[in-house]
């Protein structure tokens, strides 16, 4: 159902993305790119030891990728590196399997994406980029 995909929270975050700005003092900056639809984002992460102290992004993309990036930044801020990676795995399960969502909070609004396989990449672009940032890479991450 279209209404499951484009839930109000998603539309809201796509139109008014949170943490949508450059970060001059970021410790990591990684770009994500989805060649299929041309979605591009730059992710800024400020790590304090093992903790994501601050996180932001800029870029242009579809509603799903923009909302996903926005909600991701809200969710992982203050989390440890390990917690963020675990969240990513559970989020990926939410999009691709029938497993019941486990403690994903707001991110559960993306459960509708499962019915739209062509859009899974849109929802995971920001997360792939985050994973790469946390791993210490400074590069362009592609979904292809």
């Amino acid at each position: 159902m279209l209404e499951d995909l484009y839930q109000e929270v998603i539309i809201d975050h796509s139109k008014r993305p949170r943490n949508f700005h450059h970060m001059a003092d970021a410790t990591r900056r990684v770009e994500g790119y989805n060649p299929l639809c041309g979605d591009k984002l730059a992710l800024f992460v400020k790590l304090d030891g093992d903790t994501v102290k601050d996180i932001s992004f800029v870029g242009a993309g579809c509603a799903i990728s923009t909302a996903s990036a926005s909600l991701m930044t809200e969710t992982v801020k203050g989390k440890s590196r390990q917690e963020a990676v675990q969240l990513m795995e559970r989020f990926h399960d939410l999009l691709t399997t029938e497993k019941p969502a486990a403690n994903l909070g707001k991110l559960e609004v993306f459960s509708g994406v499962r019915e739209f396989p062509a859009r899974v990449k849109c929802a995971t672009l920001a997360w792939h980029t985050l994973k790469s940032a946390l791993a210490g890479a400074e590069e362009v991450v592609s979904t292809e």
């Binding site: 279209l2 995909l5 484009y6 539309i11 139109k15 299929l36 639809c37 041309g38 979605d39 591009k40 242009a60 993309g61 579809c62 509603a63 799903i64 923009t66 739209f116 062509a118 859009r119 849109c122």
Partner: protein, 417 residues
């Protein structure tokens, strides 16, 4: 608003009852809605006649060509070569030997880049393409230019998506070794004045390659009238199968070009000391070709001829005018590509909504369109958009299909407010 005025005259479907019935794939529902197929620039659907011709080959005639002395091989060779003559007539080429079967327009461009290009292009030479080319008419030339230290020149376009002819001519000079331009742009729908471009190129001593992939299903093409040196087409964009296409080339040029690939069928004699190449067109057709695909393409040509490209062209012209008028009424919609000479394509962006979301919502309404950069990133960058939604028509589309598109865009507005 230009309505389709007299269906008896302009509607090619009226010529043989409802032509739509010839396309089994169109008769289905997707997501509970009747399928509205508006992605014809990506690939066209196949009429039953084409499917039958290919089936017939595999069921009755399957065998290799040009070698067996047995009945099946003679039959399949005959059908294969008949398809070549059909294409020759379809393009009005002087000689059947000028028709080379390849996998598609992309392979045709690569063939010329690797053979003609490698032989004739030297360091400091120039190749001219346009700003609206598909990646397939950019990348092979980039590879060649990099290898030869040659220069790729890009002819600019205006805000409507039309070539600037004066600027085009300024790019031509004695170092220009080849001009390669799309006949109809897949991203914008622009019809380029290729006969004028050919005259221009020839004035400066350069041959011209025309990528006709988006043209041949929508308008009559006469390679002699255009006086182009090479012309490429893809079978699947003209109601034929995938994996088969054509390179047309003037015999004088093809004869001087080295072979593209080595193998069987492209040779006269082989010894370990020396190999003599076969004559045209076989010099460029190494290995067992796509026989069924070629026969399917021949059937597609018969099918198109049965309707008549003049009628297809005038019907689609009215449909495009109708679609343009309907889309222009939608607030916040901007058409990308508004050339005065245009075919088949309605490419647009909708304010505040990404094309990918438009495509998903339209799909749920049964409307199939393409979203993205259409393998023509440079031209979209020029227009300042990362992607568009593209509806592209074929003669089996109707005003009702356009209306379904417009209604689907209403649904997009509903969701995105």
């Amino acid at each position: 608003m230009a309505a389709v005025t007299d269906p008896r005259i302009t509607d090619p479907r009226a010529s043989a009852s409802d032509r739509r019935e010839n396309f089994p794939v169109l008769d289905q529902r997707v997501h509970g809605k009747p399928l509205v197929y508006l992605d014809n620039a990506a690939t066209t659907q196949k009429p039953q006649m084409v499917l039958d011709a290919m089936n017939q080959f595999y069921q009755m005639d399957n065998s290799n060509i040009h070698r067996g002395v047995h009945e099946l091989s003679e039959r399949s060779t005959r059908h294969y070569e008949e398809a070549r003559v059909k294409i020759q007539r379809f393009l009005n080429a002087v000689d059947w030997r000028e028709i080379i079967f390849v996998r598609g327009a992309t392979e045709a461009i690569n063939l010329v880049a690797y053979t003609y290009g490698r032989r004739h292009v030297q360091a400091g030479d120039e190749i001219v393409i346009s700003a609206m080319e598909h990646h397939s008419n950019i990348v092979p030339w980039q590879i060649l230019c990099e290898e030869k230290q040659a220069i790729l020149r890009i002819a600019p376009i205006n805000q409507r998506g039309e070539l600037l002819m004066d600027e085009f001519e300024k790019l031509l000079n004695p170092r220009t070794k080849l001009v390669s331009v799309v006949h109809v742009s897949n991203a914008l729908g622009t019809i380029n004045p290729v006969a004028d471009l050919a005259r221009m190129a020839h004035r400066h001593g350069a041959p011209i390659f025309i990528d006709g992939a988006q043209a041949v299903a929508h308008m009559p093409v006469d390679v002699q009238a255009l006086d182009c040196d090479f012309y490429a087409l893809s079978g699947h964009k003209m109601f034929g199968p995938t994996g088969i296409g054509v390179l047309y080339g003037k015999a004088a040029l093809l004869n001087k070009m080295p072979p593209y690939q080595g193998g069987g069928d492209m040779i006269s004699t082989v010894t370990f000391a020396k190999t003599t190449y076969n004559e045209l067109p076989y010099k460029f057709e190494a290995g067992t070709p796509n026989i069924a695909g070629t026969i399917g393409l021949g059937a597609a040509v018969d099918y198109i001829n049965d309707i008549g490209l003049d009628r297809i062209q005038s019907y689609e012209h009215e449909l495009l005018a109708y679609g343009t008028a309907q889309l222009e009424r939608i607030p916040g919609l901007r058409l990308i590509g508004t050339a005065r000479e245009k075919a088949s394509v309605l490419s647009f962006v909708l304010e505040g909504v990404h094309p990918h979301d438009v495509g998903t919502i339209l799909d749920r309404e049964g409307v199939a369109v393409r979203t993205g950069h259409h393998c023509a990133q440079p031209v979209l960058e020029w227009f300042g958009v990362p992607a568009t939604t593209r509806a592209s028509i074929a003669f089996y589309n109707t005003k009702q299909d356009i209306d379904a598109l417009v209604a689907g865009l209403g649904k997009v507005k509903e969701i995105f407010g």
